[in-house]
């Protein structure tokens, strides 16, 4: 951007809420423009001078953040209508004024902070781990083809940021659908040579309530995932795997 076309300041309209049961309201802020700013640095500027555009002193808006390089998953929010990480949301690339809202699919804690604990509970439900015998030295792990490792690695980048659940029309307060992120973890752990030994357990976990049947195939998840995880591919693979599993359950072939 050339010097002249740079704005002196930028406006942010933030949806605020003082607590889980409080009514939401909006506040507008104006912060000095700096080159290469992201939404986080704009929020930080507000924190250093918590005054609205109208000149009213207010409490600094609350949000979650941590790594600021899009690997921790903390700073998810809805920016100009789209759920994403605030750290990689560069001011120069956003339409102004910038609208910040919490991810409404989750219970609101305060302002832009939401409660994503249901995602971590889902990871328990689907047994998203390798059941190792113990942490003592048992020698090398199983060999794995690099080609397979490469696609499994893509799945293993999931930050549990919640953006895919926010975008999914089937994840809401009226449904118990666990959402795309934990489903994709089932595919990851079932791909690992040791994890595959318990794959039936994980498939059963997503064949029940809140599981894969809740997916309506809207494909929103894969478009918003900041890590580019092929979530819909995972769900399609798991659909086939669960069908196979129900046959095996019926004929008892897992016990043969």
């Amino acid at each position: 951007m050339s010097e002249e076309s740079r704005p002196k300041s930028i406006q942010l309209i933030i949806t605020r809420q003082d607590g889980p049961d409080a009514p939401p309201y909006k506040e507008t802020f104006e912060v000095p423009y700096r080159p290469n700013m992201n939404v986080i640095s704009a929020l930080m500027a507000i924190r250093r001078n918590p005054v609205t555009a109208g000149g009213k002193k207010t409490s600094p808006p609350q949000w979650e953040m941590n790594c600021l390089e899009e690997v921790c998953g903390a700073c998810s929010m809805v920016i100009n209508g789209r759920p994403r990480q605030a750290c990689t949301a560069l001011i120069d690339k956003l339409e102004k004024p910038i609208r910040l809202e919490p991810m409404g699919t989750f219970p609101i804690v305060r302002d832009l902070i939401v409660d994503r604990s249901r995602m971590f509970d889902a990871l328990k439900q689907v047994k998203a781990w390798i059941p190792i015998d113990g942490t003592y030295d048992l020698g090398p792990g199983p060999r794995m083809a690099e080609s397979k490792r490469q696609w499994a690695y893509e799945l293993s980048k999931c930050m549990t940021c919640g953006v895919c659940l926010e975008a999914c029309p089937n994840v809401n307060s009226k449904s118990d659908f666990m959402g795309p992120a934990p489903l994709s973890q089932v595919r990851l752990f079932n791909a690992h040579p040791t994890g595959a030994m318990n794959k039936a357990e994980r498939l059963h976990a997503i064949m029940g309530p809140g599981g894969i049947a809740g997916c309506g195939n809207s494909q929103n998840c894969v478009q918003v995932c900041p890590k580019g995880i092929p979530l819909t591919t995972s769900i399609a693979v798991l659909n086939r795997a669960t069908v196979g599993q129900s046959f095996r359950d019926f004929f008892g072939s897992d016990n043969m």
Partner: protein, 583 residues
């Protein structure tokens, strides 16, 4: 006594590993973290984890790993624990592999290893350039499994405020605050393990995550725990400057063939390759950082005269870059908007890691009985400079030592924390409630975040790459002025629910206390060693300074008193550290 209970503060690699070890021994763990543990700062580690698995026919061994680590740390680390760590390293990598970490593989399906700074061996196992994230997730998953087993109880969004320590200097629990309800509670335990991570936030902007305030360690220091080698702060040579933070560009970029250069007399000058022919771009971080700093600041040869040099990967095969360095290439593209496959990246040094930390014995116990520390918040494994890819190792290894030793300690107690008088715990809780009440009533005209910015600017300017006694003293003076101004903070937010400003204000005080430990430790140490460089005293001085700094809080002066203890050099005799030729 009963089965006993352990409290762990921090859910990064060190905290999670110690939790797994304690749970495996059948001991119940209460695990406290200010964030969901999956978002801990370990997630930011990029390049890999070291272990002399020696799969490339190079003749690598744990002894070579030990020698590289001790030499790289300029002989300041106690050698026996480092030896034990290097010997455990291959087993740790295999363990992580068994947990399902998607490490890069060779064509035969074995683990692949790459080269890192300060070594001639391919010793670093890696998962793309997001190794820390992958390792953290593996341990997070194992802890979740122990949660389902009922052995680990996670307390996320709960912040450590202080330890409960009796008159005999024995730790019996901690006081915490729920970061949503802001309620303050006390928890009893027979042993406490602190794995609270680094302190980069003291420098305002660094490669660290926002939670790396060092606040827990700073509080424990004020409660009587020694803080060791605080003056040794690693400045990573290659980061991208930003408004909100400085983003790391992993050393693995150079491990995979990346070259540092700038223009000199109109031609590209590969300065590290010229200055250090034996190691080239893979000199340790302190050496590379001083070179870049000198070229930019003293010789004014940075790109366009600015404080930046090129980190160049554009000559490498693009597909290979994606497979081996995808994570950092994404970060550069997303935040800078240029493609490192095609153009060289622009980088400058940034505060990255604290070699110093809470003093611990070889069992990871602090000078307060029953209080253990591991991970970046301890001082144990890196001496005066940490080698790349040794931090993931030391975090996990420290947890592997602290967990079982905490179990052993509590089994040897003749009285459980449940039997301690409740007055001890009630007093500790009431003291924290009172401190918090005072914070919420601060109604002056200073802003905590503005004070923090100023602290960071001073620390970055005077207590990083080049240190001068005059400006170190001036910095200490300025920190004390900030401590005065702190009393006039306006809290701006009186909410009794999810009030991060109040928490930050409390952390800021602890940051300033540790800033003094760092600054005065640097002032006292009149020599140059590893990351600590003083032009007034340009040489290492083993006669006077081959010793560990121990800072002890003095409540009367509200500052550190310093003691020194000898370094255990029983395995490798100190020799001159010189990367212009092979070691």
């Amino acid at each position: 006594m009963g089965k006993g209970k352990i409290i762990i503060v921090g859910g990064g690699l060190a905290g999670l590993m110690s939790a797994i070890k304690a749970a495996e021994a059948g001991v119940e763990v209460d695990l406290f973290s200010v964030v969901p543990v999956k978002r801990s700062h370990s997630v930011c580690a990029q390049g890999g984890i070291n272990g002399a698995v020696n799969t490339k026919g190079e003749g690598d061994s744990p002894w070579e790993h030990l020698d590289d680590t001790i030499y790289g740390g300029d002989f300041l680390a106690n050698q026996p624990p480092v030896k034990a760590m290097c010997e455990a390293a291959p087993g740790i990598i295999h363990l992580l592999d068994r947990m399902g970490v998607m490490f890069n593989r060779t064509p035969e399906g074995l683990l692949d290893f790459r080269q890192f700074g300060g070594t001639k061996y391919h010793r670093t196992a890696y998962a793309g350039a997001t190794t820390g994230q992958q390792l953290l997730y593996a341990l997070d998953e194992q802890v979740r499994r122990q949660e389902v087993n009922g052995l680990v109880h996670k307390h996320e969004y709960e912040e450590f405020l202080s330890a409960v320590i009796d008159d005999d200097k024995v730790c019996h629990g901690i006081v915490v605050q729920d970061l949503k309800s802001m309620e303050i509670q006390v928890y009893r335990a027979d042993a406490v393990i602190v794995a609270s991570g680094g302190l980069g936030m003291i420098y305002g902007k660094s490669t660290n995550s926002m939670i790396n305030t060092g606040s827990a360690a700073g509080e424990l220091y004020q409660q009587g725990a020694y803080f060791a080698n605080g003056e040794f702060i690693q400045i990573h040579p290659t980061a991208i400057p930003g408004e909100d933070k400085l983003r790391l560009m992993s050393e693995s970029a150079r491990g995979e063939g990346g070259r540092l250069w700038t223009y000199k007399n109109g031609k590209p000058w590969y300065f590290l390759e010229e200055m250090y022919p034996a190691y080239g771009n893979l000199v340790p971080r302190d050496v590379a950082t001083r070179a870049i700093f000198d070229i930019c600041v003293n010789q004014h040869l940075g790109i366009n005269g600015e404080n930046m040099v090129y980190l160049d990967l554009s000559h490498k095969d693009p597909h290979e870059l994606d497979v081996k360095l995808g994570g950092i290439i994404d970060i550069y593209e997303k935040f800078v908007g240029e493609d490192p496959h095609k153009v060289p990246m622009k980088v400058f040094p940034a505060v990255h890691y604290s070699m110093g930390g809470l003093w611990v014995d070889f069992d990871q116990m602090t000078n307060i009985k029953g209080l253990f520390a591991c991970g970046e918040c301890d001082y144990q494994y890196h001496g005066a400079n940490r080698l790349g890819a040794n931090s993931l190792l030391s975090a996990i290894y420290g947890g592997m030592v602290a967990g079982p030793n905490a179990v052993r300690y509590l089994k040897g107690l003749d009285k459980s924390s449940e039997e301690e008088s409740s007055a001890l715990f009630d007093d500790a809780r009431e003291r924290e409630k009172e401190r918090y009440r005072r914070i919420t009533e601060m109604d002056g005209d200073e802003n905590a975040y503005v004070l923090h910015k100023e602290l960071g600017e001073w620390m970055t300017k005077y207590v990083t790459v080049v240190r001068e006694n005059k400006t170190l003293l001036a910095t200490d003076q300025h920190i004390q002025e900030l401590m005065e101004r702190y009393k006039h903070i306006n809290i701006n937010d009186t909410s009794k629910w999810s009030n991060s400003g109040a928490s930050f204000t409390r952390q800021l005080w602890n940051m300033m206390e540790l800033a003094r430990v760092i600054t005065l430790g640097a002032y006292n140490r009149n020599e140059s060693r590893g990351a600590h460089y003083k032009p007034e005293f340009p040489e290492r001085n083993d006669e006077d300074w081959l010793k560990t700094t121990k800072a002890k809080y003095n409540p009367d002066t509200n500052g550190p008193d310093f003691e020194y203890e000898p370094v255990d050099i029983s395995l490798i005799k100190p020799r001159k550290r010189d990367y212009t030729h092979d070691k």
